[in-house]
C-alpha cells in the first residue's frame, strides 16, 4: 500500500486502527488481525518515511497487535486445556472493547462539531448599565474583600475587550446633525404616543455632545411652551418627562 499524495493524520492509535478497519470493511467483532496488523505497521513505516514523528503510543499499539496476532496463531492445545473452566477468551477481546469505547466518543465529537458550527452563530448582548436602575439609598457599606475590588477590575477589562470586538464598524457611522426644531417635534411625537418618557431615554450613550445640548434645549423650550413637565420623586430616582395634558388627565 502506498500513500502517494499525503499521509492522513490520526489522533492516535485507536483513530488509525479504526480507520483501517473501516476501510477494510470488516466486522469489528471479528477483525482479521493479521491483515490489520500488517496495514498498521505499513502506516507507521510510511510515517517514518515522511519524517513524521511516530509517538510511543503508536508503537505500543503495534506491539499489542503483534502480540494478539501471535496468540491467535498458537495451536489449539492451549484452548483445550482451558475449555472446561471458561469459554475461549479471544485475544482480541480487550482491544475490541477499547476500540468500541473510543469510537463512541469519536462519533460524539463529530456531533459536537456539528453543534458548535450552529451555536457559534449566536450573539449575546452585553449587560445594560445596571447602576442606573439601582436604589442607592438602600445600600449599606459593610466590610469588603480586596478580591471583590480586583475582580471588579478584571471584569471591567474583560468587558472592554468584548466591547472592542463590536467596535470595528463604529467609525463608519455618521450621525446627522439635528436642529432644535427637529428635536422638539421628535419629542412631541414621542409623547403623543407615550405620554411619558424616562429622561435618560432621550440621551443615548453614543449621542454626540451637540446632540445632548440640542435635546436639552428642546426640553427647556417644551417646558416653556407648557407642553411637558418634568418629575422626579426623589433624588437619583428616574426623571420622568410627561406631556402636560396627560398629567391633567390623571
Amino acid at each position: 500500500m502506498t500513500y502517494n499524495v499525503k499521509l492522513e493524520t490520526f489522533e492516535g492509535p485507536f483513530d488509525l486502527l479504526y480507520h483501517l478497519i473501516e476501510k477494510a470493511e470488516v466486522d469489528i467483532y471479528n477483525i482479521p488481525i493479521a491483515q490489520i496488523t500488517d496495514q498498521y505497521i505499513q502506516y507507521i513505516q510510511d510515517m517514518q518515511k515522511f519524517d513524521l514523528e511516530v509517538t510511543s503510543e503508536f508503537l505500543v499499539m503495534a506491539a499489542t497487535l503483534i502480540e494478539i496476532k501471535s496468540k491467535m496463531l498458537l495451536p489449539n492445545k492451549h484452548e483445550e486445556q482451558l475449555a472446561i473452566a471458561i469459554d475461549e477468551i479471544d485475544p482480541r477481546q480487550d482491544l475490541i472493547a477499547r476500540l468500541i469505547e473510543y469510537k463512541k466518543y469519536k462519533t460524539a465529537a463529530e456531533e459536537f462539531k456539528k453543534r458548535e458550527d450552529v451555536f457559534k452563530k449566536i450573539f449575546y448582548k452585553s449587560q445594560e448599565q445596571l447602576d442606573q436602575y439601582i436604589k442607592y439609598d438602600d445600600i449599606e457599606l459593610v466590610e469588603m474583600d480586596l478580591n471583590t475590588l480586583i475582580s471588579a477590575f478584571n471584569k471591567l477589562l474583560e468587558k472592554r475587550k468584548n466591547h472592542s470586538k463590536l467596535q470595528a464598524y463604529v467609525d463608519e457611522i455618521q450621525r446627522d446633525e439635528v436642529t432644535i426644531e427637529d428635536k422638539i417635534s421628535q419629542i412631541q411625537q414621542y409623547l403623543e404616543i407615550h405620554h411619558a418618557v424616562d429622561f435618560h431615554h432621550l440621551f443615548s450613550d453614543s449621542c454626540s455632545k451637540s446632540e445632548i445640548v440640542v435635546t436639552f434645549l428642546a426640553l427647556l423650550e417644551l417646558i416653556k411652551l407648557n407642553f411637558l413637565t418634568v418629575q422626579q420623586s426623589r433624588i437619583f430616582d428616574k426623571i420622568i418627562i410627561k406631556k402636560i395634558d396627560s398629567v391633567n388627565g390623571v
Partner: protein, 190 residues
C-alpha cells in the same frame, strides 16, 4: 395560580424586559423573587415566551442554561450581524479537543489519565486549550495517590453547544452503532 390571560401576557412582557436588561443568563429564582410568582410558574411562562419567539421566527431567541434564561440573536441572522459588527472569528475546536471534550462531558468528573486511556494518546494540550476556553474546569481531586485533578464541563460548554443542561446531551449509547455495520444493523437488528 389564578392567572388569567392578561396577567400572563403582562408577566411575559416584564420577563422580556428583565432578560434584556440583564444580558447574561438570568436565573428563574431571581425572576420569581422580583415578580413574586412561584418559580414553576415563571419557568412555564418563559418557556411559553420562548415558543412564541420561535413560532413567529423572531430576530431574538431565548436559550436555557441550567434553569437560567438568556436572550440572544436568532442563529439564522448570523451573516447580517457579521456584516454589521465584524465580530472576531471563532475558529472552533480541533478534533483532538473535541474528542477530549466529548469524553469529559459524558464521563465527568474524570482525570486526565482516564481521558488518555480512552483516546490512547496524550491529551494535555487539548485539556489546557479547553481550560483556556472555559469549556471545562477543575471539579476537585481524586482521593488516591497523586490526588489527580478531576475535570468537568462548564456552563460555557452548555452554551457553546446549545444545551440547556447536561441531561440534554444526546445519549452516548446512540453513538455505539458502528458505521460499517450500519446496513446490517438496519436490516437485521431487532
Amino acid at each position: 395560580m389564578g392567572c388569567n390571560f392578561m396577567e400572563d401576557k403582562e408577566i411575559q412582557s416584564i420577563i422580556e424586559s428583565l432578560l434584556f436588561i440583564w444580558g447574561d443568563p438570568l436565573n428563574v429564582k431571581n425572576i420569581s423573587e422580583v415578580l413574586d410568582f412561584p418559580p414553576e410558574f415563571i419557568r412555564k411562562t418563559i418557556l411559553d415566551l420562548k415558543k412564541q419567539y420561535e413560532a413567529e421566527d423572531r430576530g431574538l431567541q431565548i436559550i436555557e442554561i441550567n434553569n437560567s434564561f438568556q436572550l440572544c440573536t436568532n442563529t439564522k441572522h448570523y451573516d447580517y450581524i457579521q456584516k454589521l459588527c465584524t465580530p472576531t472569528q471563532n475558529k472552533g475546536l480541533t478534533q483532538a479537543a473535541l474528542e477530549v471534550l466529548a469524553i469529559i462531558a459524558y464521563k465527568q468528573p474524570i482525570t486526565r489519565h482516564e481521558v488518555e486511556g480512552i483516546r490512547g494518546v496524550k491529551s494535555d494540550k487539548a485539556i489546557s486549550t479547553l481550560l483556556d476556553k472555559e469549556l471545562i474546569l477543575e471539579k476537585g481531586r481524586l482521593e488516591k495517590t497523586g490526588r489527580p485533578i478531576l475535570y468537568g464541563t462548564t456552563e460555557t460548554f452548555l452554551k457553546a453547544f446549545g444545551l440547556s443542561c447536561l441531561e440534554d446531551l444526546p445519549a452516548i449509547e446512540d453513538f455505539e452503532k458502528l458505521d460499517f455495520d450500519e446496513n446490517e444493523i438496519n436490516k437485521t437488528d431487532e
